[in-house]
Amino acid sequence: MAVANLTRRRSALFDHPLPWLLPLIAILALLAIFPLFYSIWLSFYEWSTFNRQLEFVGWRNWATLFDDDRLSASLIVTFSYFAIALSFELVLGMGLALLLDADHRGFGFLRGALTLTLVIPPAVAGMMFLLMEDAEFGVITYVLQTIGLIDRGTPILATPSLALAGVLLVEIWQWTPFMVLIFMAGLRSLPTEPFEAALIDGASWWMTFRRITLPMMGKVIAIAVLIRGIDLFRVFDYVFVMTSGGPGTRTFSLSLYAWQQTFSFVKWGYGATLSLVTLAIVLVIANLFIWLTKVRW
């Protein structure tokens, strides 16, 4: 009897989903839910250096948003960075994926080699490109000078018109392979018959790509855009390492601005408000995108 009772009690306990979900709930609560609510709370306070304590400021931090030139400048930088990087990564990623999808000799090695950029920490990649874009001895600077795109001795990352492009270079170099991987997985999972039918129907390569491959890849592309897009909007490491947001505010991203307010200027309340703005923008754009492209999770 006692054994039967115990078994029943134990099975009741183990049948319930809660024990299994607890670790996940704990992690989420600790790393996502608590910081979120803490940030919301914090956005109504500000650290007073004079009194050395947090003081309630009501809606002041939120009101400041509408009258903050640096915020609008950082939004422009972030949106430009997002749009340019995403376009390049999409087009280059698809092109390379189509190229590497063929089973030619040596392509297996190339596919493997492509993933190498993804294992380098972004800060390290940023440092590498910082050196390569150096005005004196940078190899990229040298190549661009040789083909006549920039003048001799131009410091790419310190030139207002070139700085963002200089940062985008490492972004695109490091993350295009991610797109290639996702697109290649997508291409390989497509059924072969429609392509054979198109072959018999006499469609050209471009027509096959435009009317058969691309629509069939729609969902895969949408997922890639979503993952990459969210990441791009939070760009921090590259600009922090390479330009610190300069020259002026030419590469000053929203995340960098929030970081600067929080940790350099010790304006914890306004820093939290800026982070919440980033979150809100990402949430709205991502959900709008999910709704428009009908991506199902």
């Binding site: 018959e193 429609p194 018999i200 006499g202 629509p215």
Partner: protein, 355 residues
């Protein structure tokens, strides 16, 4: 209309020999069925014809012209795939119209041709839908429509009905055959379903292990199977096989095995002692008091139209199909008879037909 000719076709996938030197010709306007079990190479042969596979050696000729190096689009063929192979992102209209759009026909001409095909196939109401919104049978029709508008001289069908339910399959069999008769094209149809082959074909090419076992009309392969494999493959229920020998019974030839003695036509040489496999079609057997095949009835399966009798003869079971009016019960002893002209004899060693 076009002939399709195969000359010594060999196809290897790595070390696996899929087609082992096939040579035959398909006559214009015939409906030819490539029939055989899974893995016999029939689909590979069809894909070679379409240009979707490259053969290891040999030649394919369409309308007398060697097409080994001709692009699939230039072979003047249309193909219906097993999984329909519709373009998922295009509506039915565009699916059917795609090949015409590729050829840059005028929009009016495209609309006319698609409209005609859709009307023939009864899919006019679905032209504005996507393939995923259609049932299996409707998708099959769209695939057929796509092939039809091409005005090709050779139609290739790769097991087009295998994903449909039994009733729809029977219906589509008739439609495909009628379509073929109306278009007057040369059709090559791959299937592993012998009923499809028997009902639709002008000519059946029966394949096994990358080789041709027999080419003939449905009647020929049914009535005079060239070897034991063909005899076994064609016909439902399958042919009964008994091992025994030919003996001379009062001067006329007879087949003898345990509990069985079957008279044979006089044309069979009564070479006494020759080892023979005797094939008896279940439908050719009948219950008879004077029958020379004795056995015990172990099961009587009623199929509705008739009864399948499973009879233990010696250490073997044989099946006979008798009318539903037959009064039989499991456990009783039965005697079966057969018309000597309907007995199939195969050499026990070579498996080739003897009579």
């Amino acid at each position: 209309m076009a002939t399709v000719e195969y000359r010594n076709i060999v196809k290897n996938f790595g070390a696996v020999e899929v087609l082992r030197g096939l040579s035959f010709q398909i006559e214009p306007e015939t409906f030819t069925v490539l029939l055989g079990p899974s893995g016999c190479g029939k689909t590979t042969l069809l894909r070679l014809t379409a240009g979707l596979e490259i053969m290891t050696s040999g030649d394919v000729l369409i309308a007398g012209e060697r097409v080994n190096d001709v692009h699939p689009r230039d072979r003047d063929i249309a193909m219906v795939f097993q999984n329909y192979a519709l373009y998922p992102a295009m509506k039915v209209f565009d699916n059917i119209a795609f090949s015409l759009q590729v050829r840059k026909l005028s929009p009016d001409e495209i609309r006319r041709r698609v409209g005609e095909a859709a009307a023939t196939l009864n899919i006019t109401d679905y032209l504005d839908r996507y393939p995923k919104e259609l049932s299996g049978g409707q998708r099959q029709r769209v695939a057929m429509g796509r092939a039809m508008v091409r005005d090709a001289t050779v139609f290739l069908f790769d097991e087009p009905l295998s994903n449909l339910d039994a009733k729809l399959r029977a219906h589509m069999r008739v439609e495909i055959r009628q379509l073929h008769d109306r278009l007057g094209s040369t059709s090559i149809y791959v299937t592993h379903d012998q009923i499809e082959a028997m009902t639709m074909a002008d000519e059946i090419v029966l394949m096994h292990d990358g080789e041709i076992e027999q080419i003939g009309t449905p009647d020929e392969v049914y009535d005079r199977p060239a070897n034991r494999f063909v005899a076994d493959f064609i016909g439902t229920p399958s042919m009964n096989f008994l091992s025994g020998e030919v003996v001379a019974d009062n001067g006329s030839p007879a087949f003898r095995a345990e509990n069985v003695q079957v008279s044979l036509p006089d044309s069979v040489p009564a070479t006494s002692g020759r080892k023979i496999t005797c094939g008896l079609r279940p439908a050719d057997l009948s219950l008879s008091e004077t029958g020379s095949i004795n056995g015990k009835l172990i099961l009587a399966e009623k199929t509705g139209a008739d009864i399948h009798l499973h009879v233990a003869v010696g250490d073997r079971n044989i099946v006979a199909v008798v009318p539903r009016s037959a009064n039989v019960a499991a456990g009783q002893t039965v005697r079966l008879a057969i018309d000597p002209a309907k007995v199939h004899l195969f050499d026990a060693v070579t498996q080739h037909r003897v009579n």
